[in-house]
């Protein structure tokens, strides 16, 4: 394709209804870049040792495929290359420039993925002697980190902290009472059941529904 044809195509896109799609696609790319920036450290860890958690990867991949899909829809299949190339470049650079962060530097999203925040799982001493304990500990912790991550994803940092702390505190008791698998199930059920009421509260606050309800109650005479 020569230069004039490219300019003509751009002109066509700018003049037609496609400009809406273009704007949408640009917004999606910006959004995906923002998510990539937020998850930068986690992403680097994923590239460095493949040690990461499900939701992070799912979010990144979803954003990536969404952008590629939109681009393919609006500009045709070739444009996917234009979106995929910078992301691939970024992945390569991140791999090349990987640098372990000190504990002091950890903040924000990185803390959410920290293994220190996870559940302590006690195992028999013999597993430690043959090196099984560390592996199992790490695996068990990661299983619950997904649930914990869901809290941080959907609730505010402070509320998520309270809930995750309370659940972690009660978990050893549940484990002693019902066993590890059922305790894990309890943890997950608590997280999922908590998202409903707390999410609804946040939604009311954000959308102003709560304010409208309050006005309506006051208009009815305080009852």
């Amino acid at each position: 394709m020569n230069f004039e044809a490219s300019v003509a195509k751009l002109q066509y896109v700018a003049d037609s209804k496609h400009s809406v799609y273009v704007t949408f696609a640009i917004l999606l790319v910006l959004l995906s870049l923002m998510v990539a920036w937020l998850l930068h450290d986690e992403w680097r860890r994923f590239l460095a040792d493949r040690d990461t958690h499900g939701p992070t990867v799912v979010i990144i991949l979803l954003m990536f495929f969404l952008c590629c899909g939109m681009a393919a829809l609006v500009f045709g299949g070739n444009s996917v290359v234009f979106i995929a190339s910078p992301i691939t470049l970024y992945l390569l650079l991140a791999r090349l420039l990987k640098r372990p962060k000190s504990k002091k530097q950890k903040s924000g999203f990185t803390v959410l993925f920290s293994r220190d925040a996870a559940l302590p799982v006690k195992l028999p001493s013999w597993t430690r002697q043959i090196g099984l304990a560390a592996k199992r500990d790490s695996r068990e912790r990661r299983k619950l980190l997904n649930a914990e991550f869901l809290l941080y994803l959907l609730l505010g940092q402070r509320e998520a902290d309270w809930i995750a702390g309370d659940l972690q505190e009660r978990l050893p008791k549940m484990r002693r009472k019902f066993g590890l698998r059922r305790a894990r199930l309890w943890y997950w059920s608590q997280v999922i059941r908590s998202i409903g009421p707390l999410g609804l509260k946040a939604l009311k606050r954000l959308s102003g529904i709560g304010f409208l309800v309050e006005m309506w109650v006051r208009a009815r005479g305080g009852h």
Partner: protein, 110 residues
């Protein structure tokens, strides 16, 4: 008594737990106590916090933060303390329950 001052069953349970636990009332302990009070029924921790928010908005309780420890991954607790209007509302609810019980006599709950 306006609707603002009245308490639902769940709120009564939470205020009772807060009174019982005195200075050690926070999410996990409140959840444990209300599960005991209600005969082993499970409550979501999120519902507990939503009810505490509601009670705080009514001026029945107040919250403070702190008490992070290793057993909870260094995350802070939300301590809850009952205020005078909360105690009055709880007294009223308990009194109503008592009257209902006396009216019903041996019909239920014997």
């Amino acid at each position: 008594m306006s609707k603002e001052d009245s308490l639902g069953q769940f709120e009564v349970l939470i205020l009772t737990a807060v009174v019982t636990l005195a200075g050690n009332a926070y999410g996990a302990t409140i959840q444990e106590v209300i599960e005991d009070l209600s005969g082993g029924r499970s409550y979501a921790i999120g519902s507990v916090y939503t009810a505490i928010d509601r009670l705080e908005a009514k001026g029945f309780v107040k919250s403070s933060y702190g008490g992070a420890g290793p057993e909870r991954g260094q995350r802070s607790k939300r301590f809850v303390e009952i205020l005078a209007p909360g105690k009055r509302a709880l007294d009223r609810s308990v009194a109503i329950s008592g009257r209902v019980r006396s009216v019903l006599g041996g019909e239920v709950g014997s």
